[in-house]
């Protein structure tokens, strides 16, 4: 590459700053709004730095039984979805990676395509089925539908992970008389813990972020954080502080993911899993 002139260098530096501001400002706004008193949140010109910070919104949110309920519901649905997705997806990913049956091998593409189905297309009939089974408004309704998408992702992730795990140890176990099932549980599974962790984090973020399924399938008692945020936004007096505080809770998994699991996260997105 040729050397860059000084003019070019400063132009690129300015461009970088502009890009960074574009992506940072909405998040920065969210964070400072959660730290402001009501009157400061609405003040114009906007106060970007010099305002009286307060944790009042957070203490209010944690003292408010409804906010706590949203957080609890999100935790229940996320935990349920993640555990179920792993329980179904990890063995299936192993099977697809190890089997010599062509049909089972190519079933992985079926899961990949399933990941790309528009959520609303499954939601409408699923809603009717849940209604007939009187499961609307229960945690199960959301967990089951979230799991259909998340488990399909786990299969893909774990399949590629198991393909990279050396097979020799499993083969040695088989020679020693272990069954295929034992080889999976006691040899392959412990070797694939990092893959399982990334799959789990991925499931966590998707079920935690889900809005559409929760919107249609929950009742007032099972509403999750995104629905709580929406409620505080559309209430008669918009409480931006409360909205921002709940939003900060809502983005915690995202922050953790982007700090610790970046590679897998992008890989997951390029597999087509995205609902937003």
């Amino acid at each position: 590459m040729q050397r860059q002139s000084r003019l070019e260098k400063s132009f690129l530096a300015i461009l970088t700053v502009v890009v960074l501001l574009f992506f940072m400002i909405p998040l920065y706004w969210l964070l400072i709004t959660s730290l402001k008193y009501g009157r400061d949140a609405f003040a114009l010109p906007p106060q970007w730095a010099f305002f009286t910070p307060t944790l009042k919104n957070y203490t209010d949110a944690l003292a408010n039984s409804r906010s706590l309920m949203y957080i609890q519901n999100s935790l229940i649905i996320t935990t349920g979805t993640t555990l179920l997705s792993l329980a179904l997806g990890v063995p299936a990913g192993y099977a697809i990676a190890r089997t010599r049956w062509r049909l089972l091998n190519s079933s992985s593409f079926f899961f990949l395509i399933l990941l790309m189905v528009p959520p609303v297309a499954t939601l409408i009939p699923f809603y009717l089925v849940m209604r007939d089974l009187h499961l609307l408004g229960t945690y199960w309704a959301v967990i089951l539908l979230d799991t259909a998408f998340d488990a399909s992702f786990v299969v893909w992730m774990m399949r590629s992970y198991f393909l990279d795990v050396p097979q020799e140890m499993e083969e040695a176990a088989l020679v020693d008389g272990a069954s295929h099932f034992t080889a999976f549980l006691q040899v392959a599974l412990p070797l694939s813990i990092p893959g399982i962790i990334s799959s789990a984090l991925y499931c966590i973020i998707y079920s935690w972020n889900d809005f559409l399924f929760a919107l249609m399938l929950t009742s007032p008692k099972t509403k999750t954080i995104p629905l709580g945020i929406l409620a505080s936004f559309s209430a008669v007096d918009i409480s931006w502080g409360q909205m921002a505080t709940l939003s900060v809770f809502a983005i915690i998994p995202a922050v953790i993911i982007s700090l610790f699991l970046n590679r897998y996260f992008v890989q997951g997105l390029t597999m087509g899993a995205s609902k937003g």
């Binding site: 697809i96 069954s179 929406l230 937003g276």
Partner: protein, 303 residues
């Protein structure tokens, strides 16, 4: 005795040998068939009926392909198809151009680029609903930051960008660009990293400028990456829902009522289930076609 042997062999085959893999896969297959495939088949079934949940008698009238034919004549569907194509084309084009630019800008392995790259993972990991609501607050006419600064430079946004015809779509596209451009950037960064270095050295020896080697080398070499990014984002863009729900709710008029949102409105707000299922199946067909092409492309590229 013969039967017993047969049974033992069958048992061995399924429990000990390769058959065990089938057992490991079966729970998920059964689950997916029940939770995803059965509803999709069911959805095809109801799309052939006139079926409104709001109807007190809950009657289902068989109308054959009537719901599908109705969709092609329905002016609100035409409006939402128009919105869909405007939304999909503008988000995909802007995000690919911007994403490629970002990838080139931030491909260096220095501290600043690395920091910004890891920060840029955030937008796509955030709950899309929160992104939509934050931008809605920023766009707000009375208290919003964007409207305030627009007014300072002498641009009165009237009812606000989200409520003004002609501005609502670009305003929502900007939110989507904020959310998804980083993904395109990461795809291109991976593509850039896998480029061979020899052609560039040859071009430099031949005295090509950096601009020339970008146009004649980088762009053609990135074509497979571009194809992946294009298909992936097109598919995802057809599924945008949360940010539209949060910002404009489809308005003003039908300007931002993309097909995905229209299906939600018909089915889950007005509970016209037969018609909504037909519309959902049309969307499913479009996205399904794209995803099959995408999977074939991915497989050929051995990603």
């Amino acid at each position: 005795m013969g039967l017993n042997n047969q049974l033992t062999r069958t048992y061995r085959r399924f429990m000990m040998g390769d058959g065990v893999y089938l057992w490991l896969l079966l729970p998920l297959l059964a689950f997916v068939a029940l939770i995803a495939l059965y509803p999709l088949a069911f959805s095809f079934g109801i799309s052939l009926f006139e079926y409104r949940l709001t109807d007190p008698n809950q009657t289902k009238t068989f109308v054959g392909l009537g719901n599908y034919l109705k969709a092609f004549a329905d002016p609100s569907i035409q409006g939402s198809l128009q919105a869909t194509f405007a939304f999909v084309i503008s988000t995909v084009v802007v995000e690919i151009a911007f994403g490629l630019g970002l990838a080139l800008l931030l491909s260096a392995e220095n501290f600043v680029s690395q920091f910004i790259r890891s920060f840029l993972l955030l937008p796509m990991a955030l709950p899309p609903l929160v992104i939509g609501l934050v931008w809605k607050a920023l766009y707000n006419v009375d208290f919003g930051v964007i409207a305030y600064y627009a007014k300072l430079i002498g641009w009165d946004m009237g009812h606000g960008a989200l409520a003004t015809p002609g501005w609502a779509l670009p305003a929502v596209v900007l939110v989507d660009v904020w959310e998804w451009t980083p993904l395109i950037m990461f795809i291109f960064l991976a593509g850039l990293k896998s480029l061979p270095t020899e052609p560039y050295e040859a071009a430099r020896v031949d005295g090509a400028s950096r601009w020339q080697s970008f146009i004649y080398l980088t762009l053609p070499l990135l074509r497979p990456t571009l194809l992946v990014a294009l298909l992936l984002r097109t598919m995802q863009s057809f599924k945008a829902f949360d940010i539209i729900y949060a910002t404009t709710a489809g308005g003003p008029g039908l300007e931002t009522t993309v097909l995905n949102y229209q299906i939600y409105k018909v089915g889950l707000v007005f509970f016209d289930m037969g018609y909504a299922s037909a519309l959902a199946n049309i969307l499913l067909f479009i996205v399904g076609l794209l995803s099959v092409i995408y999977v074939m492309v991915l497989e050929r590229q051995q990603l």
